[in-house]
Symmetry: D2
Subunit: 346 residues, 4 copies
């Protein structure tokens, strides 16, 4: 069986394991106050071209989302995102459990625009009963989005400008950030993200680490006392250096981008075949997730040798599914999948 189910089905890149193994047996300080975390944070600050950034290492994405938002908002404030935003649909109400409403704006491709945000905020304050409605205060973007699309630099600049103008925090969920940075046509860098957002994170779990998300905070109001809130939500790993070491490995020799590039290349290869076969896509993405719409019969056949996830029925004989490549995807597996698709769709 070949896994195209998601991008977290293999433990970690060998270089990450090597780094951990090489540091076994050393005695380290607890709770991320250790040399490995300090080094990794410095590497990130250098990549982001800003020495004043606060950098914290957390374990997983939902945890990171809920802590950032808890740190950023007062009780009556809400997060705004695309209706498809991970925090809106796939985190069991984690944000609501911290007391905040998540407001989903309409989106076909997983993205929202500065204009949408501006209009939403204006409508809020135009309503004379606005005190009876949660106050929009934080904009949540995923890059890449849950649908595999990415934001251009121009789009992020516009959103950032709308946020500044309206005193909204801008938060970018980068659980799969590597796959955006390495995507064909991407023009956004880590330094851009650090400059344009109040807070964003560089996902490790889905991009080569065993686990780990590196939160990068430029807004001092969110950074203040961040470790208290991490501890309160159970997110301060006792052996925090395990996170620091993994990020060191990921940022040595550009590993993070290189392995993300591999995943995107594998996805492009598959995407080309699907295009050649005239398979319609639910959304046209450019990263490691593909959402083809395929006949039920073909999907049944594919299931014998490949895993993938279901996105929903499109019509009485077709379903949309998701194929996901990763840093670990083997080219032979992609070739096998392409061959099987050709066999069944020709």
């Amino acid at each position: 069986m070949q896994y195209f189910h998601n991008d977290y089905n293999e433990a970690c890149h060998p270089a990450v394991l090597n780094k951990l193994t090489a540091n076994m047996g050393k005695q380290m300080g607890g709770y991320s106050e250790d040399s490995a975390c300090y080094r990794a944070a410095d590497m990130i600050r250098t990549l982001c071209k800003n020495d004043d950034l606060a950098v914290h290492f957390l374990v997983g994405g939902t945890q990171t989302n809920l802590i950032v938002i808890a740190a950023a908002l007062r009780p009556h404030q809400a997060a705004i995102g695309a209706v498809t935003a991970h925090i809106n649909v796939h985190e069991t109400g984690a944000i609501e459990a911290t007391g905040h409403k998540v407001i989903g704006l309409p989106s076909e491709d997983g993205k929202i625009t500065g204009e949408q945000i501006q209009q939403f905020v204006e409508l809020h304050y135009a309503d004379e009963a606005h005190e009876h409605i949660p106050q929009p205060k934080l904009v949540y973007l995923s890059n890449p989005t849950e649908l595999g699309t990415i934001y251009s630099l121009a789009e992020l600049e516009e959103i950032s400008s709308v946020c500044k103008k309206n005193k909204l925090h801008l938060f970018v969920d980068g659980a799969r950030l590597g796959y955006a940075l390495a995507a064909k046509g991407n023009d956004v860098t880590l330094a851009d993200l650090a400059r344009l957002t109040d807070v964003f994170y560089i996902g490790g779990t889905k991009v080569g680490a065993m686990f780990g998300e590196a939160v990068v905070i430029s807004n001092p109001a969110i950074a203040e006392d961040f470790r208290y809130i991490m501890k309160q939500r159970g997110a301060m790993l006792a052996k925090g250096w395990l996170l620091g070491l993994q990020y060191e490995a990921l940022f040595e020799d550009d590993l993070y981008l290189r392995i993300a590039q591999h995943a995107d290349n594998m996805a492009d290869k598959l995407r080309d075949v699907l295009t050649e076969l005239n398979v319609p896509m639910l959304v046209e993405g450019v990263t490691n997730q593909l959402f083809p719409i395929l006949p039920d019969g073909v999907l049944d056949k594919l299931k014998e040798n490949f895993t993938f996830s279901e996105q929903g029925r499109v019509d009485s004989t077709h379903r949309a599914v998701r194929f996901c490549t990763s840093w670990a995807t083997k080219e032979e597996a992609v070739d096998a999948l392409c061959a099987e698709l050709k066999n069944n769709l020709k």
Copy 2:
């Protein structure tokens, strides 16, 4: 200026004030443990034809909604309602502040159906990632709805049956319940509500009381320790007998229904004129709220003598507004409004 802005612009019905005044100076037990609350609760149990109901008196609607839902749900569970549900749009995220997501189902007229609920629950459990999504556990209806429509007995029977089958709690927000019970065509009684729901409330604030909502609970799991949760949320009025006395007044001589009937009659009178004038309605309701779509010029003119609330722009020259009658609406005021409408629309 004549107020058609809402149904809580006058303090209370004279009979309610008389009851309060007549009991001034008496020394009473605190926190709703007093003879007035006991009598009012008994009156409600009698009207609901069930001696085992728990009855509690709270101060306002948002308070009641958040306490009932906090009492009913475990942390990962969500409330489902129409997208227009008050808890979804006009309570500043009160439910989310207790930790629970509110899920809005599509609705044109403020109502949802048993079939919608059944499908939603089935989709939830059919999703293999359902543990990553808040668990639907409580169905929230408003009767009348925020758009002035009402549920028929058949509709409530169906919804109740779907809820029982799927182990969902059914909660009816009756902030304006009187105006539903007194509406033309209504076939639902208090006893039906007590029989078909797990919990509902009989609104006082908008139907003749100074303030007050009477919560009626048939499900023992929700009733258990309800007073603890009231106290925790700041909803246990020190002088609880002020609530008991007002409900006594409302249920003596059928006052509650009689004054609601008046409001509905006044609304019907206005509705007939709007129909006669071929004014389109945003929603066709039967209770004390009307949502006509009128030309901007007419609305500007009406504003000189009448208050109403804005519902939103419909096209470049028309807006939907809300006119609201109440137990206190004077027939002269309705006549004046009807005359003004005729003058401007003929």
Copy 3:
């Protein structure tokens, strides 16, 4: 039966009822945006000698405490108070339900000192694991305290200075504030409270109103968006003018202080008799609450004609109890109680 159980067993002072009655039938704006609330807020600002204060009217004490603290704290921050503080012992965990720990400092008489606060904060930051402990951020005082004692101006000045130095918010719960302001030996004014605290409130429920607490906020960070948080917690009364009118009545002709003075005088009369009879007191207070320690037999006898509340067993034959006078206490009732005490203790 004569009630000395507490100070909220009678509805309201006649002047308050008159004010409400005189305004029946008027149409008023909802949610405290009305002329009565505006006038009452202005009266309070004048009494507090500060035109910039934010003033909001809430319904009850627990509600007020939880909303002020929710408005003032970030998630990891805690409220500090005396171990006997109302928020620590008698609000069913209302503050914890907003996510914040309440930390009780040792206290014999219901009061804490600036020095205690200073030491506690220093210990917190001296602990290298302080990020694993809730951050002290708000100091909660009750004045009068739950044990009937009051803070002197010098004590409040010192506490306020410690709070400023350590960037702590100072919050004074004035649920019974009138009884402190009118107490023998008091040297604190409303203007002092407004000057020395970030936020405090002037209790109505226990001092002549049917219900109501007037929150006075000088710290803009707490005042910002306060109405959103009121609404979210179910504390924005639809007919807010009922609160405004009551406070107008309380501040006309100095009614608030005059009726509090009466209660304190009645308490002093009873206190003098207890002193004369050599009855030991649990705490020596100066306001409307008295905590004598009396033999079980005497208490049994008193119970036939008087209500009071139990504070706990002191030894095998004595219990501490609480007698509470109020604005409504009749001198005859006090005389009767004094006589009964003399009869039984001589």
Copy 4:
């Protein structure tokens, strides 16, 4: 420098690393739905002699405590524990952040008794204002305690019986459970814990794993939908099999107990020397934590070569400190520490 600061300063036991390394490169199912987790859970059920137990793998202790308590309690309910309980003092208010008060009962040695619990519950319900106080509903014990002491089987039996009688949940925090099970004089087994508690956990982070806590739930009301709540709180590890593998390693060949035994032996060796040197102890424990009271001068000297943590000043010349051994402590390090102590205290 030799670390006696705590028991989580080294990554993991080599057998744990080997197990992880041996499984690199395999494709596994996400979110703990994988063969490694299933096997580890089965091993735990076997050790606990109960096939019906729910077993879940979480990442850290604070996370586990807050999720178990969130799963177990309704909003108005509180957790009771020793005043020294980890949840009361060292988790930045994590439990309060889920809405629940933590109530600390007096304790000198980190333990509480069935009698204390019984009395506390009786006092709660004897108070006529008990609805104004959080309802005691869950008893939290740590075994070993934060002070290194352990519960005997008889003590646990009594506490369990008190809990059953009063319908309280019993929850044992076993963050260091191995060190209790392996302690001299211990008579409690995993099967006892499974039989006597509603829920407990087997700590991995401090006993040989890189990270991980295995939660064992016998009460179906707490087990129901536990994975939803894990996800909601950010505790469902994407690569859950990393936890399963580690627990497999820990329970093969009795590794868990063997390495805990080593730590306890090392502590006993140190304890014997301290006894021989007549060093007083803050608490007499039997597990891997020791709390000697030593002169400032000696501590200054020790600091040159050894790490330890501070417990607080005892008098003007002595402080209590904590020495902590672990599965990784080398006997040479203990010998060196013993020699240094002898040198300085003789």
